[in-house]
């Protein structure tokens, strides 16, 4: 059973041995290294694409069950071939470039959107020896590289020459930039405890207890912020289909649209893996090998995403921004401060009795902080009536006196 637990490193070793024996001796060593690297990259790039198909199927079936219906169950047994049919459909669709778009930006926006998401899978540890790179700033790399998506969304919205696309892009920039701050500071709590940004070492640190127990508040902040980052309901303002048609990808069709969808779900999968790595002890787990444990956790977290999507209605844009700046940002600062104090006081690892204390502190902070989050009366303006209304309408722009 040993090969089962260390499947991918052993496969790599076996392939390298075969390559060294098969190729003539005049071939230099770096060629083998290059071929192996390209093959590993092929596996890593295809992983999210296969995973996205499974996630689309799971989302549609699970959302159907949440809404008391069945979901797709016609194509293949239990409908498992439905995402394949969707993929074939979307690849054979006509690729329309409307008149008046900025062609270059319009065409490269899906690529700019998808590429960082695929890069993200390079640093996630899938097992003890199963990872593509052991980057010492792994989590920083992930957050930095996925922030490029904001630019891609704005490129798509701006170049489409469509007001709804531009609305979606503007909302996207406001929302994504705002939520990156509490997201990063929530990650800081984990980094302070583990003392490293290397994802492998973060997982190794959680071999006894997952960090969600020591960081309950940080987990909640991270989850809410990542829901907003990934445009998941209730934060799906930038593609709110009942208000602005499809947001930034209104004008896209065919495989360009497919690449946006692919990037969205791949980001969901990648960040589910990041949540599992940071808070749920990553690939560690009894019985199953690491790569299977990671995907069990990924699909569990994805199920929670689907659950929130089935439950919560969409927020207004001012509510979204207020939640980020008035609620999550101070909470995340408090969280990282409390975590830092705990780490300084207990230098040799946090004691286990701190777990209920942390949960109580987190709940108390949420209960206190929500008083500052007053949604009422923020955007309402008192409109005067009668002659005052006329005067208000006729008042010159800029508030100058007549």
């Amino acid at each position: 059973m040993d090969w089962f637990y260390e499947l991918w490193p052993k496969l790599g070793e076996a392939f390298r041995g075969w390559l060294e024996s098969a190729l003539p001796d005049s071939i230099e060593g770096w060629v083998i290294y290059l071929v192996l690297g390209l093959l590993s990259m092929l596996v890593i790039v295809n992983l999210p694409i296969v995973g996205v198909m499974a996630m689309i199927y799971m989302e549609r079936r699970l959302l159907g069950r949440f809404q008391n219906r069945l979901g797709p169950n016609r194509v293949g047994p239990f409908g498992i071939l439905q995402p394949v049919a969707d993929a074939i459909k979307i690849m054979t669709k006509e690729d329309i470039v409307p008149n008046g778009v900025d062609r270059i930006v319009f065409n490269i926006a899906p690529i700019v959107m998808l590429t960082p998401i695929l890069l993200m899978f390079a640093v996630i540890p899938y097992g003890g020896d199963t990872f593509l790179t052991n980057l010492n700033v792994g989590i920083l790399f992930i957050v930095a590289i996925t922030a490029v998506d904001t630019i891609a969304i704005f490129m798509a919205g701006w170049s489409s020459n469509n007001k709804y696309a531009l609305f979606g892009a503007m909302r996207a920039v406001a929302q994504l930039v705002s939520y990156e701050i509490p997201l990063l500071i929530a990650i800081l709590g984990v980094v302070v405890i583990t003392g490293t940004m290397n994802l492998n070492e973060i997982v190794a640190h959680q071999s006894s207890l997952p960090l969600i127990l020591f960081q309950p508040l940080g987990f909640v902040i991270f989850f809410v912020a990542i829901s907003a980052e990934l445009n998941r309901s209730p934060f799906d303002l930038l593609e709110a289909d009942s208000e602005i048609i499809a947001g930034f990808h209104t004008e896209y069709s065919g495989m360009k649209f497919g690449m946006f969808q692919l990037a969205e779900f791949a980001a969901l999968m990648g960040y589910s893996a990041v949540i599992a790595t940071l808070y749920l002890s990553g690939w560690e787990g009894p019985g199953l090998p690491g790569y299977l444990w990671l995907f069990v956790k990924v699909f569990f977290i994805f199920g929670i995403f689907v659950w929130t999507r089935a439950t919560l209605p969409r927020l207004r844009i001012d509510q979204v921004m207020a939640l980020a700046w008035k609620f999550l940002l101070p909470l995340s600062f408090l969280n990282v401060a409390i975590t830092a104090v705990e780490v300084v006081v207990w230098e040799n690892g946090l004691p286990e009795w701190l777990i209920p204390v942390n949960i109580v502190i987190g709940a108390g902070l949420v209960a206190i902080m929500h008083r500052g989050l007053n949604f009422q009366g923020q955007t309402r303006q008192v409109v005067p009536s009668g002659p005052e209304r006329l005067a208000a309408i006729n008042r010159p722009v800029g508030g100058g006196t007549e």
Binding site: G64, R65, F66, Q67, N68, R69, L70, W307, T308, A310, T311, L312, A363, V366, A367, M369, H370, L373
Partner: protein, 171 residues
């Protein structure tokens, strides 16, 4: 406490996971329809039809086209022989007035519901096509008319042959 409402909502949706889905798998299952449902195709039974053309007169859109001529021995009582009986289903609005007008229950609503065609012309049904559809319905429903009455078995004599002989219409 902030977030309790969200937690309650999440629990509500979680309970929905374990409910029976409402989905009706249409081609395999069909939603039961009420007895007043209008929208079935018409079935027309030539053996019940006397050719009185009440249905054609009551049809507000004129979708029924009927041509008859008197036939038979005048001493035995003459019948109308039906030369043409067409229903242009493409123009029918399924008001059901023809069904109510028919004194002999020869035209009844209760045929197939999933009667989509690729060809507009095939919605124009002559008496052979209508009889074929009616016989299909009878064979599929244990020789019961759509209104619930029992139809004669195929080996029995048709109804209009067994008309009362003692009723002499010439007098």
């Amino acid at each position: 406490m902030y977030g309790l409402g969200i937690a309650k909502g999440m629990i509500v949706t979680f309970k929905h996971l374990f409910r029976k889905p409402f989905t009706v798998q249409y081609p395999e299952e069909v939603v039961p329809r009420g007895s007043r449902f209008r929208g079935y195709e018409f079935t027309w039974y030539e053996d019940r039809c006397t050719g009185c053309a009440s249905c054609a007169k009551y049809c507000p859109l004129g979708t029924i086209n009927i041509v008859t001529h008197p036939e038979g021995d005048p001493k035995q009582g003459m019948d109308y022989a039906i030369d043409i009986f067409d229903i242009d289903t493409g123009r029918c609005m399924f008001c059901g007035l023809c069904v109510e007008a028919c004194p002999y229950e020869a035209i009844q609503a209760g045929g197939p519901l999933d009667d989509a065609t690729y060809d507009f012309e095939s919605l124009y049904r002559d008496k052979h096509k209508l009889t074929e559809m009616a016989q299909e319905h009878l064979h599929g429903h244990d020789f019961t008319y759509p209104n619930g009455k029992q139809a004669p078995q195929p080996d029995e004599k048709p109804l209009h042959i067994g008309l009362p002989v003692e009723r002499d219409r010439t007098r």
